[in-house]
Symmetry: C4
């Protein structure tokens, strides 16, 4: 797998994840949509199945789709730092593209929605109760669960792999998404926030940059803790690792 | 596989898809049903599992069930134009039959429902905010996701295939169905619209023909874009292709 | 497989199905439960996963769990009439036991619930709009879908089989359960109705015997039609048939 | 597998189960969360996917995660009493850790929530209608279903195993969770209750010790009955048993 292929597949897969992930939030929160008020489980399935589709699309590059997963694979020695940079760049570019596509798909509903906070909510996460320290802890815990279970399971998206990680993300959202909206992925939050800032969205408000570091730092710390614990227990994965 | 077999299986499979797909909308929107007001996720699961059942039924013919999928397989060179015509005809006939069966299953609830718009909604999609250009873009994006992920995954409904495509359709509905109700399939929308126009439905209103081209053009364009991108990246499918 | 083993496993499996199936209705409709008002999708998942658990339990006897499925297997020549009698007897006994266990599990909520109609609804189906002819047609269509897709898929509960049939039942409930509550299984409706009539349920009302033939006749007719169509098209199953 | 490894993996797996399981209750019931009022099906998926993640994490130790399952494996002769003690200790320690992590993840929402009963509900189950005898019977029935279906299916978490048991737990919650909130696991209830008593939770109330024996005794009795019936029918598991 060349760096070009890694970049191509991670970009496409992360764009797919964000298009579907941001899309379900748009469907639930924006004015006049058919899924308006559809509930938290609908949001969880939308994001989980966004991961599902994204993993298929990025199958060939290992489907990290998440800088925190790439951090863990770097710590595990599965990739080198140069490759990690390619993954991270692709994830940011893909997440940006996915957020733009979501905005295009829901264009008229963005225009119809009067509340700027709901427009931002489609792009990026925000805390239910703003408290950077505890919000970060919540993101650390959620991402720890994501990365640790992926490492235990082998981290490779073959056979049942896409379904497995989709269900894991549904579960994390259902159970740990309540306080912060479960970014658990720095690219998922930061790149759409940049898109929100740059796009000519009618009636948009602040991109809430003061919170932007939380869904970056929390997931990275969670991934590091997960990888370190995984190494400390000397565990093997259930499935054979990817090359 | 003879053309007769293709016609038989695609007709039966698409009838199954439409019976269950239109059925869940009837259950959620028509007066007095047990699932009335059941929500968007219920609709998403109904359509997704309609695809699930339809793929089993049309297994032998490759389970396109969707003219847009057939367009993509034609571009990929998996079928020739004569076969594509058989698929398209079968999909239209099957979708018509499925919509009629749904009407029979919910006969008394169609009679009890006073709102003509809800009666049409069981058969065909309609936009939340009417805007042909943007509605078409939404259908292009939704169908692109459907077809691109099917092509990436190999497009063959074996083993986990029916479950995979069912979940993909649940995800597209959850995330991209908000503005237009996700036709993402010309036969799914046009044939039931014809059924709505022809059937002696008590108190029915307009079949909204002015919108009818959107869920045909959008999905076809989306499928073409997906097939072209798939060819452009020179990707292989994850699973071996069907003969 | 001896007749005794068929009886044992079908009885246990159908009891499991009815315990979980009636249980989810009790949870959604009876006064004071934690799932009260939980919605149609919750009911669909409860019945679908009741099938899931029941298929595991009755794996060795082929997990018919439903006299309509047994009718189809009889028409297909997979079992003889003497075996069919064993299956039917076991399904009725098992469904009765499951309904009794559900009543025990929800004992205090049956006592607390003032509406006799809701108590009956836990045991047996009833029409949303009472119209025996159309109610029967709805049950014919729903059971046709169940049995035809089972026959197409091979009818054998191995590997993904329990999940497959569980999802199929979730889909039928979501899409075709609106008018009659989807009995699609004579034993599922008749045996609990007998239990309702016999059990000393506090404040119970009529067992609605005038409707009792609909969820028996409809499913049997639907199964016969499905088996005849399956034979007419000369289809093979996807999976190898059970011996 | 050494006793140390059993302890390590069961502790980690049960902590994962309780973090996600208690987490979904916190998300649904505590003030101001994003999933507030999300409904019973959301709770069922949260617990089911908590089992899913926990089974992966504790794969190597057989993923009992539940003293009642360990009781059944002891009766079946798969483990000896010394090993059972290790499992039980690990499950209690893990459940305690998981509950503490859940409290940390939802820290500000515990502080914001005025109702002490809802704070306890995140940690431990409570009856909808308090009646120790019938509450115990409900827990006996629910745990019987869990353990009997696990024994029938082989009890080994490979391949589809984690998904199987997750769906089984979703089904039990949907169908039998209405009266008592489905502990069906002594460690799931008792260890978080101890955590509730010990943690400095702002504005907490009673830990309801008078009820604490029900979700211990009920599950143990249910597991014993399931194992005895399984032995009585001389059944084999569908899948080969774990060593």
């Amino acid at each position: 797998m060349t760096n070009g292929h890694i970049f191509l597949y991670e970009t496409m897969g992360t764009a797919m994840l964000l298009l579907l992930g941001c899309g379900v939030v748009a469907n639930v929160v924006l004015k006049g949509t058919k899924g308006n008020g559809g509930g938290w489980l609908l949001i969880n399935f939308g994001w989980g199945l966004g991961v599902f589709a994204g993993v298929y699309v990025a199958f060939k590059s290992g489907a990290h789709l998440n800088p925190a997963v790439t951090v863990a694979q770097l710590i595990m020695g599965k990739i080198d730092f140069g490759q990690a940079l390619i993954y991270w760049a692709a994830q940011m570019v893909g997440a940006f593209i996915g957020a733009v596509l979501c905005w295009l798909a829901y264009r008229d509903h963005f225009d119809a929605e009067p509340d700027p906070a709901l427009k931002l909510a489609v792009f990026s996460t925000g805390p239910a109760i703003r408290n950077p320290v505890w919000n970060t802890i919540t993101e650390v815990i959620g991402t720890f669960v994501l990365v640790f279970v992926i490492l235990i399971s082998g981290g490779t998206p073959s056979g049942l792999g896409p379904l497995f990680v989709a269900l894991l993300v549904v579960g994390i959202g259902a159970s740990l998404g309540g306080p912060t909206g479960y970014a658990i992925n720095p690219a998922r939050d930061l790149a759409p926030r940049i898109a929100h800032a740059l796009l000519p969205i009618k009636g948009k408000g602040s991109s809430d940059w003061s919170y932007a570091w939380v869904p970056v730092v929390g997931p990275v710390v969670g991934a590091i803790l997960a990888a370190l614990l995984f190494k400390a227990i000397g565990s093997d994965s259930i499935f054979p690792p990817i090359a």
